[in-house]
């Protein structure tokens, strides 16, 4: 028997290949720190596990969020399951909807991740790079910078955490329901079982323990990415550039500051998206607005901004289509 003789050749040698700069798929080499845990049975949780799974050291006081890159989504719904298993959420309205492979239907008090399926007409055989003809998007609470639900909450149940996420505190919520109509995205909902408001917490408990949120950790293709908002935004912008370079002109960001989705006084979405079709195609509002903004004096200006942005998004999308 012979021992394997490893040649000390660097990875780059074997992979001297095109490498898109902002390519978002998991770095294939397992992070160095994983080598510190070689035992099969561990005494407990791996500290700061998010460093291994997302390359992120979670620190209170920083802003965190999700970048959901629909161009990588395979519609597997691992996010939905991981969320329910972690948060102990029961099944919700079981039944076949007939809407492609979406039998979840919508976000609700019991469903905090929801994968949309959009079948596009036509039967192409040659596709633009990445997702096409069957769009899939994992939707989630947007954790808005200026959150309508939080503004509307009279009890202080909704609060902004040390991670700049928006969470309903179940020990405070009295179930008044004011938050429900205040969400421009229709995310938050009260639950018939306990009468209280529920939605994605961006795994508040996990963040406190240095763990990546369950959905993002589970996501097989890194369509859902978790991290500090500024990093995520940079990565997302690079991804859009890369996709444009590959001819996917209809890729754009929804929810970054100044972009579609971040209109009407919302500022920005801590959970933002890379989309490949108009927002409405994904059941997302083209120009969401905070309820409070609607009555402000700057209403008209706000509307004008929002309309402009929406038109820009639609134009960009239409241009992409034509070019294909």
């Amino acid at each position: 028997m012979s021992a394997v003789n490893y040649a000390e050749t660097e990875l780059q040698d074997a992979r001297s290949r095109v490498h898109l700069e902002g390519h978002p798929v998991h770095p294939l080499p397992v992070p160095e720190r994983a080598l510190q845990y070689r035992e099969s049975i561990l005494a407990g949780i791996i500290p700061h596990e998010a460093e291994l799974t997302a390359g992120v050291t979670i620190t209170p006081g920083q802003s965190y969020g999700f970048f959901t890159d629909t161009s990588l989504c395979i519609g597997c719904k691992a996010c939905e399951v991981a969320c329910k298993e972690w948060n102990n959420l029961p099944a919700d309205e079981i039944g076949l909807t007939g809407q492609s492979y979406d039998n979840t239907g919508r976000l609700s008090a019991l469903t905090w991740r929801h994968v949309e399926f959009i079948e596009q007409p036509g039967r192409a055989t040659s596709m633009p790079a990445f997702q096409s003809h069957w769009l899939m998007m994992s939707d989630v609470c947007k954790h808005c910078a200026n959150a309508g639900c939080l503004e509307a909450c009279p009890t202080g149940a909704l609060f902004r955490t040390e991670f700049d996420t928006v969470v309903v505190q179940q020990d405070v919520c009295n179930g008044c329901g004011y938050c429900v109509p205040s969400c421009p995205f229709g995310v938050i909902e009260t639950n018939k079982l306990d009468g209280k408001a529920h939605k994605c917490t961006l795994c508040y408990d996990r963040l406190k323990g240095g763990l990546e949120p369950a959905c993002a950790k589970s996501c097989p293709t890194n369509s859902i990415q978790f991290g500090p908002l500024d990093d995520l935004t940079r990565r997302a912008e690079q991804r859009v550039k890369d996709l444009h370079a590959l001819g996917v002109d209809n890729a754009y960001l929804y929810g970054t500051r100044g972009g579609p989705g971040a209109t009407g006084g919302i500022g920005r979405l801590n959970a933002f998206f890379l989309l490949l079709d108009r927002p409405e195609a994904y059941n997302l509002p083209a120009a969401p607005t905070l309820p409070s903004t609607r009555v402000r004096s700057g209403l008209l200006a706000g509307l004008a901004t929002m309309a402009g942005l929406t038109l820009a998004a639609v134009a960009a999308f239409a241009a992409g289509r034509r070019d294909r």
């Binding site: 998991h26 294939l28 397992v30 992070p31 994983a34 845990y37 099969s40 049975i41 561990l42 005494a43 407990g44 949780i45 791996i46 596990e49 291994l52 799974t53 597997c76 719904k77 691992a78 939905e80 399951v81 991981a82 298993e85 972690w86 939080l150 202080g156 149940a157 909704l158 609060f159 902004r160 955490t161 040390e162 969470v167 505190q169 179940q170 020990d171 405070v172 795994c203 508040y204 408990d205 996990r206 406190k208 323990g209 763990l211 990546e212 369950a214 950790k217 589970s218 996501c219 097989p220």
Partner: protein
């Protein structure tokens, strides 16, 4: 709850002390205390996902004799912490209230299950296997060829089981008892 805790928890004094009304000042006791339940684990074992053959590694978190959660193992070069929808439901499978936990027995011509002790069932199964083997064992074909087999009983399944389990199935059923109808999911 003592007065001190009550005051510490009540948001008005904290807002007066300069905290943001929607941030720290609004933080409740539950929020302050919340931690991921994985931290309660006193034993974390490495497992392999029981569904398909990709072979994703999982970490099984246990507290005492209870599994409290299962997630992807970030060290695995295959899944690096990720799991598919099935793998992500492994915890739901292990801890399902629908799981069988006792031996069910259905007597000939009966229309219902009965609970029976495991030991009794094992004895009965061994007895039936011996009976069938003894009734159907063939040592030689008419042409004199030694076959030492029984065609009277069959084993089905193995692709979801461990290698060691497959080994004992083949060893006992085939090499020990002479069974030749031994098959698994590899052909479906």
């Amino acid at each position: 709850m003592g007065l001190r805790e009550f005051l510490a928890d009540w948001s008005i004094p904290r807002q007066l002390a300069g905290q943001d009304a929607s941030r720290e000042a609004a933080e409740s006791a539950a929020s302050r205390l919340t931690r991921p339940r994985l931290e309660e684990a006193d034993r974390v074992g490495t497992s392999i996902c029981p569904y398909c053959a990709v072979g994703c590694a999982q970490l099984v978190y246990a507290k005492g004799d209870q599994v409290i959660h299962i997630e992807g193992d970030p060290r695995s070069p295959i899944n690096q912490g990720t799991l598919c929808p099935k793998g992500a439901a492994t915890f739901g499978w292990l801890t399902s209230p629908q799981r069988l936990t006792t031996v069910k027995y259905r007597a000939p011509y009966s229309d219902h299950w009965e609970d029976r002790p495991l030991d009794w069932a094992m004895d009965r199964i061994a007895h039936l296997m011996k009976r069938t083997r003894d009734e159907t064992f063939v040592e030689r074909l008419p042409d004199g060829m030694v076959v030492n087999h029984t065609l009277g009983m069959a084993e089905l399944g193995g692709a979801t089981l461990d290698d060691e389990e497959n080994y004992l199935i083949k060893k006992l059923c085939n090499a020990g008892l002479g069974m030749v109808w031994i098959e698994n999911q590899a052909r479906i």
